[in-house]
Symmetry: D2
Subunit: 373 residues, 4 copies
């Protein structure tokens, strides 16, 4: 039997992301030597039947329709929030007040002001937090980060990032919470990933010039009547980084045919990196130091050389999946809870993303460059 301390999870939300978190906990517990024995304690949803069904399917001991009660339960160590975005703040603040660690799906909150309140509360309470930006957990992104940090690309000069999908491409699709002017839009929904990756690789963005476009300006509301859409279907930004580089990102959720184009290109004085989430077990690297006539972008395949790939598989080229990235996220977060490392992407990092989004949105509205606060 394990003599590790237990970490009892209280999950709120049983949708796609709730399921993905459960996968993440389960896989992390098998793949990594976690500092805790994770116990799926209680799951909460709006109805008790939904919660009970999820509890049975996923192995939680308890189910409840009252997330407030669960959050206050002394038996719970970590509150995991995968409920709709608008509820993140109340849930997280309640959990923080109860002294729980809080794991919250992205976005941390629809508005930066709310995210700031959450981050400050967590820091004041001394709990550990995590926001779900799992693309950052890809070993190939860490490889890219480390190569840049080690100077393998020389001085970094230019960046181009994109996150494009097509889940909103159908103009007859309904108006959803993602179209809500408070926190909605492509930039907030997926541009957030592009921004997180950009800062993960190149460091702080200092100035932005935004461009937000609504393409499908009306969608069927819940009453079947057309409802005006004000949020961006496409969000773009020019960027300046503190390290001197310039770049751009684009978010597009009506990019017909694209399912997961979370891509970037980084150009330095000595080399370059090209990545696509469409083939996220690969990183393409160009080095000017290769011999003349032998240079080219080389396709590095994920392998045990690229931690923590080796924890999943001892052989190279076998590939991680999307859910594995969530397991890496869980493992990093639990290590932070155990005090073994800094928070990989805590509420302050989540706040940072919201700040970037709002600055870009404001810049787009103003039609001029803005400094990032």
């Amino acid at each position: 039997m394990s003599d590790k301390p237990k970490l009892r999870i209280g999950l709120i939300g049983t949708g796609f992301m709730g399921k993905t978190h459960v996968f993440g906990f389960a896989t992390a517990a098998k793949v990594f030597d976690l500092p805790f024995e994770v116990e799926l304690h209680t799951v909460a949803d709006v109805t008790e039947s939904a919660a009970r069904k999820a509890a049975e399917a996923w192995g939680f001991a308890h189910a409840t329709a009252d997330w407030r009660q669960m959050v206050a339960d002394p038996a719970i160590d970590l509150v995991d929030i995968t409920a709709p975005n608008a509820l993140h703040k109340d849930m997280a603040l309640a959990a923080i007040r109860a002294g729980k660690h809080v794991y919250c799906e992205k976005p941390l909150a629809p508005l930066a002001a709310d995210a700031q309140e959450m981050a400050l509360a967590a820091e004041a309470a001394g709990v550990r937090t995590q926001v779900g930006f799992n693309y950052l957990c890809n070993p190939m992104l860490h490889l890219a980060h480390d190569m840049i940090a080690a100077g393998e690309l020389g001085e970094i000069r230019a960046y181009r990032g994109v996150h494009a999908e097509d889940y909103m491409a159908d103009a007859t699709g309904p108006f959803t919470f993602r179209h809500d002017p408070a926190g909605g839009g492509a930039l907030a929904d997926i541009g957030s990933h592009a921004l997180a990756t950009a800062e993960f690789l190149l460091g702080p963005i200092t100035r932005v010039m935004g461009d937000c476009v609504t393409v499908i300006d009306s969608r069927p509301g819940s009453d079947g009547q057309p409802r005006a859409v004000e949020v961006d279907d496409i969000g773009r930004a020019f960027l300046r980084f503190a390290n001197g580089a310039s770049g751009s990102i684009e978010a597009n959720w009506i990019a017909t045919g694209r399912k997961m184009q979370h891509d970037f290109e980084v150009y330095g004085s000595k080399g370059a990196l090209v990545f696509s989430q469409e083939r996220f077990n690969e990183l393409h690297f160009y080095a000017t130091t290769d011999a003349a006539g032998r240079r080219g972008f080389r396709r590095i395949e994920a392998a045990p050389d690229h931690a923590p790939y080796g924890a999943f598989c001892v052989a190279p080229g076998h590939q991680l999946g999307f859910n594995d990235l969530k397991a890496i996220e869980v493992a990093g977060y639990l290590a932070a809870i155990a005090g073994k490392r800094a928070e990989p992407f805590g509420f302050r990092a989540g706040l940072r993303i919201q700040t970037l989004i709002e600055t870009i949105q404001n810049s787009a509205r103003a039609g001029s460059w803005l400094a990032v606060p």
Copy 2:
């Protein structure tokens, strides 16, 4: 609490594949609505300390250094064998005699005669068996299979398969059990995958012409002295299929730079498919029925359209990983144990692969075509 019947697992072996099986059980239990509640009951290894360490790490209740005792334990429902190949037969036969279901890593046994004895024993005992050919569990392979079966490619004419890696490319690497004349060689080790995929897609192979080549003819033995290698580093075969098509496969474990080139191309009268395990969440499809001037191989990305991808992720393009394939294998096997479907790849299928391998090896030695028994 679950009211599903329990299925208590006894695992033999705690190496790479043992770990992968544990991942598979854990993920399958979360991703799928399995017909059983899987219980990791006992793990066995050659030493009790190794077994105990694995038990703790992976969540087994018991550990033992005596696999025979475990196999005989009435508490165990399913014996899962990931021990070295040479032991598969004894372990499996003991388990079958004890009335257990048996899950055995590939190859089923070094020799087809042994595999046959195992298959017959399992069938006589009425237990359900599974051999670990998890590349076959990829939704994109099932898509390929279904497209071929549905006639989307028309009459199938030609097949080209390859499985190439480079884990034996270093000539200074030691002589291992994989170099043992009984059951060793690239054809047996990875050509088995190429053959399994070929028959999965096109149906039975009826005749073969083999070509087996030893490139590195000596490797350091355990005593540091050179030891002659007789098995193939490269195995090739021309193929004839019962459906009238012809084709070829190649196995190569010294293919410098290749980590997971499990690839195939299928050409029919109306279309074609191209697949590479290097990008195994994609299948490339050419249809002659596309409009003139608009034809081309289209890159289909794995999506909920392609079961059981949707059980892992509701969004397209997010990608499965290698370990997810094992979870699919587990789920299919458990469904077979529950009587809900035929064995996906039981001992008879494992025997079939060994038969194909030996026929190709015999053909290579004879330098002439042989009918597959």
Copy 3:
């Protein structure tokens, strides 16, 4: 013997582009049924020896160090200008005054005001003009154009274009005419291609927001002393098109590792196109009308279906080269001279590109959106 009218060429400049033009005339004469018999009459360069050497190598009957005399020579029908950019205007105006057709390498002139003077002069004189934007001559770009025009992509929503190379990536490379504030910079040099392709495919750009960045701010001058660089190494722009779409382009001549990344992505309501000049005999097409579970970007290979590919090769997939694009340009231009079609890309089109460039540059300086005049 040919009874076609002769078209006697007077070429100015014997560098890379002069050579490429000669290749273009030679290939066009063989590949196409041109309306003229092209005669390489006279070549001019700064020294007579250089001109004579080129004449001999390329088959011109005459050589001269005096381009003014050549331009005035009644024997010349078409003046082909591949001299440095700063000379284009004087040469072109002189040729127009002499009633010659004028073929001018890009850029038409460093400044839009000059380009306008040239375009107006040509139109007043009634001569036919051509500016060398040969990437537009690619049959796959024409396919893309025609698919968009025919509505195969539905309503066009978004565009992303880039032209990145690395010929200026070395910070120790000398200050050249391409760094001259009047007409220099990445946006003018290669962003011009990105803009030309964008308008070729989607029609007029109406508004722009520019971003111009100087990365290497000093280069060795001809005296070996550092000379300040003021032009952009990277130029970006957000775009609005008259058809309602939005988009962006980027020009980057310090993109280490990139040799010819002239790429675009077009997203419409019913489909999408993806193209890279790195593989310019392919066009990738996604159609929402493909069957569910069978959709994907399909790689269309250049073939006789895509005119004028068939004039070069009757078999598909054999591929055109860069010089072949120039031959297509020549053929189109000669057809325009013969009155069989409109100018493919005359001086007015060249002026348009300069106008776009300057508007983007002005926008970048102003830090705000500008309407394209």
Copy 4:
């Protein structure tokens, strides 16, 4: 005016390949500093009108319906044969007897015995010959050759070649001369390219085991009645090379969707190369000497580093086309005629290919390995 000696061409045949040869001569004359001034003297075809039309279109001074007269004409220096395969021998022998250099499209002759007679005749007469295997003229193939020769891949161990297209995939397509038992079939038609590339890169093939399959066993004859097809639609071979490597090639002219899959993979002890004619301006190179965690196949793009690319274009990544390969072939041949180099691929090389083809065909019939004579 050129003071180079004239080389007066007599071309037989005005079809696709005749045109390609004319393109080759024209481009070569502009791109390279040829040792001769090429003069397109006479073109011959079966009717004088066809010949005359071609002469006018392509710039030949004379046209004739009597190739024998042309071949005997003292004004002709080089006879260029692009007539149907069955006529190659008579034409070439006549030309050789008249002391002409002979440039002959592939295959040199339907049967190796004929090819041998031709090679011996040419050698006896001391004329220079060339067979049209222009894929070998690709700078990237020369790069591959040179890298292998220089030991950059270490000891060469394995080879996999394929040449697949789909021009015979339609079962309703007519019986043509390519289906003639004497010299027809996929192996002869396109497998010849795969064999030529294999020997170009790895040196002599010593033993083969063939597999020839007729898939479409009847096609409409010229009278509309079904006519039995005996030649192979798919030809495969296992190979042994004199350098110790083993390999395989496949020829398939019914590979639906493939337009130009002339591909190879070469695996050595220190590196590997992967090439596809579908993207023939690239060569992919894996080096074990790259740093750990940074290894991968790198995509080398054709550039001036790779002669003679630089003669076509001074900038990298601009790409050569199919017709450019023919120009390189012409230039190499003319250099051989001028005594500046050995024949790049003369009649003896053409004979070699026919010998390989027949040995593979004989092996397939015998069902056993055969030594290559």
